[in-house]
Symmetry: none
DNA sequence: AATGAATGAGCTTTCATTCAT
DNA sequence: TATGAATGAAAGCTCATTCAT
């Protein structure tokens, strides 16, 4: 019989992660001290260690949550839509999400995680699967497009998928550096690129609604 | 009259920066201790402090050098070549450079710098000008292309330039995570994209030599 | 009218002390945390503090129990038996008791108490009376032996009693370090020593039964 | 080329160990904080960590030194003297050494090491060889005595050697508890015991000089 | 009465930097 | 000038104890 509800424990964990997210975004993982997180949460040091055995585990938990959030975006991408339409939708949704001010806190932490992955295998696995999964999905989508003729043949689908991922990553980075970045303009340029790259199959590319994806 | 020659001082500075680069690439800025750098150089702690007043200044010097190296790549890009050709060359040269094994050490440090910029204004200025300058150059190039009809109108040149930069940044990141990445494949996909995007002006896109740029 | 019976309270106290004994034997007083004891008992932290106001008091209670157990062994030693016989019986009973596997848990804790006595006056008093009482009993016994001629004159009875105590203490220590120690062999050597030291008064030393002592 | 002489480094290490010895004797290993040792040495925390990588290593170094000191006492015991004489000399020298006020600091630490051995394998090995080596030496000596008839047959030499070790250990413990203990009286009782136990071979036991042992 | 989450002082250890030699 | 031993503030983490529920 737990003295406090599972919800309560979850809420506490959330509080800590939110506080850590704020601190990490501000100062980075290494410059953020446990005291900073203690101060941000208003809890005591001991309380935090009840939920996370070490500072490192808070970072790992942040990395995991990051991954879960990113992974959700691509969840509906296997639909039977035309490749070009799907690509456009993916671009609109995944890039468009960066415009949400509620998500802004995560941008800076994402970049920190990229760097941290280089020296922490645990985080590397998380961020790498955060890259490999989208690449696999997009490559499959491009392969399908090549079969139905909407995507030019003679292009390595995986390499092209990497480019798509890069277009996403670059925006994350640029927006982390400059929160005021014109994301809609960026999306416009990306859509234009896709339009040129994929053969439109009836519907006009630039006017697609984003509703092909379930969880927009 | 200086006791030791300027060359000697330069050489020592280089030694320190090389050692720091190795350490930073391995462990990141924060996990690298001055003792690590001391051990890597074979010098004494005191000697290093004679060349850099603080650890932070070594990082800043690394950031500066990083910027100088990156900036060089775009130096010859203002030529009067067709926009599409120039873009292809830029892609080949700047992306192709990442394949050079001698440059590999820098990749991991570059990603570290991206993260570090978020909390160090000094580094932010360096990395941001490392982004803004290419964007300005490419945007100008695209604007020229739009004027001569080789680049589609109705696209924000700055936004499109950002996408180009993102394509570069994403590759840097992906290669930092996986040194064995297929860079040539990636370049192929990028060139294909450019081919679709720009109207070829006589010469066939995919066969351009990279010699338009001076310092390849 | 008490809510719970005295027996119940006693039983819980016992549980705690048993758990503490197990923990202390394993990890020592200082390395044992209250959480260890909580886990070992299966009770809550609060419950334990209801029975012992502080960790220190558990240690003190253990010390007290230790003393009570040891003191019992010598209880019947004032009998009017010949000094040599009594010494032999004391040796057999007090040393022989160490062979009891049920008592093994206490050995390691005994050594811990010896060390702890050096910095805790409360424990010092307990362990010192655990030494002084046997010394007084054995010294009296030797003095009696000197009067009746069975023990050599010209020997300080207290010093000799200290040697007897040492022979006991040394075995405790050696067995704490090595639970597989040959205790019977050790007892044999001690008996041989006593045989040489005391003049046998009719009965042959080595064949004495241990039943002179009441609580064997 | 070391900046400071080896002697200097040795001296610094000594200082730390002396300070630690004082602290450990006063408060035990666990209650002694690094700050205590810092204060006792007058050095800084960092300075101490230059000589010992962890607090545990100071304890281990103390244990090692303890062993070296104890081992020295038995070094000359393989002489061709009569077993009884050798035993008496061993008793006089090893027990007598405890009377030296300069050695008093070690007594309390010895008892701490006994307890610590129970939960630290590294220390266990040191203290156990500090027991096993004397036992081996004394057992050999007793075996020799049994061959030449000066020691009673039918006694397990190893068990008897354990008893001798116990007589030493017991005195260490009792003196740790009470620095004012009458050591000479104790030695007298031990010598009397040896006299009864071993057949004197010409010289009268009680009058032996302690000079049989080289390093008294 | 019992619980166990919370507290926070205090622990060991690290490391950028200094400065006597 | 170069050295590297020394500094000491500050880091991450622990754990005896409390007290709202």
């Amino acid at each position: 019989m737990p003295r406090v509800s599972v919800d309560y424990l979850e809420a506490r964990r959330r509080e800590i992660m939110d506080a850590a997210l704020a601190c990490f975004g501000r100062e980075g993982f290494h410059r953020t001290t446990m005291q900073d997180i203690v101060a941000e949460t208003g809890m005591s040091a001991g309380a935090i260690y009840r939920y996370f055995p070490a500072k490192e585990d808070i970072v790992a938990a942040i990395a995991d949550e990051h991954h879960v959030r990113e992974a959700g975006v691509l969840a509906g991408a296997n639909e039977r839509t035309a490749a070009g339409d799907l690509l456009r939708d993916l671009a609109r949704v995944s890039l468009g999400r960066l415009a949400d001010p509620h998500e802004q806190r995560w941008r800076r932490v994402t970049v920190q995680l990229w760097a941290e992955a280089l020296r922490d295998e645990r985080i590397m696995q998380v961020v790498r699967s955060g890259l490999d999964e989208p690449i696999a999905i997009i490559a499959a989508l491009l392969r399908r497009g090549q079969r139905d003729g909407s995507v030019p043949p003679g292009i390595d689908p995986v390499a092209a998928a990497r480019v798509c991922a890069a277009i996403f990553q670059g925006l994350v980075l640029q927006q982390a550096w400059d929160a005021g970045l014109d994301i809609d303009g960026y999306i416009g340029a990306v859509i234009a690129l896709i339009d040129k790259f994929t053969r439109t199959t009836g519907t006009k590319g630039g006017e697609q609604s984003g509703e092909v994806l379930a969880n927009a």
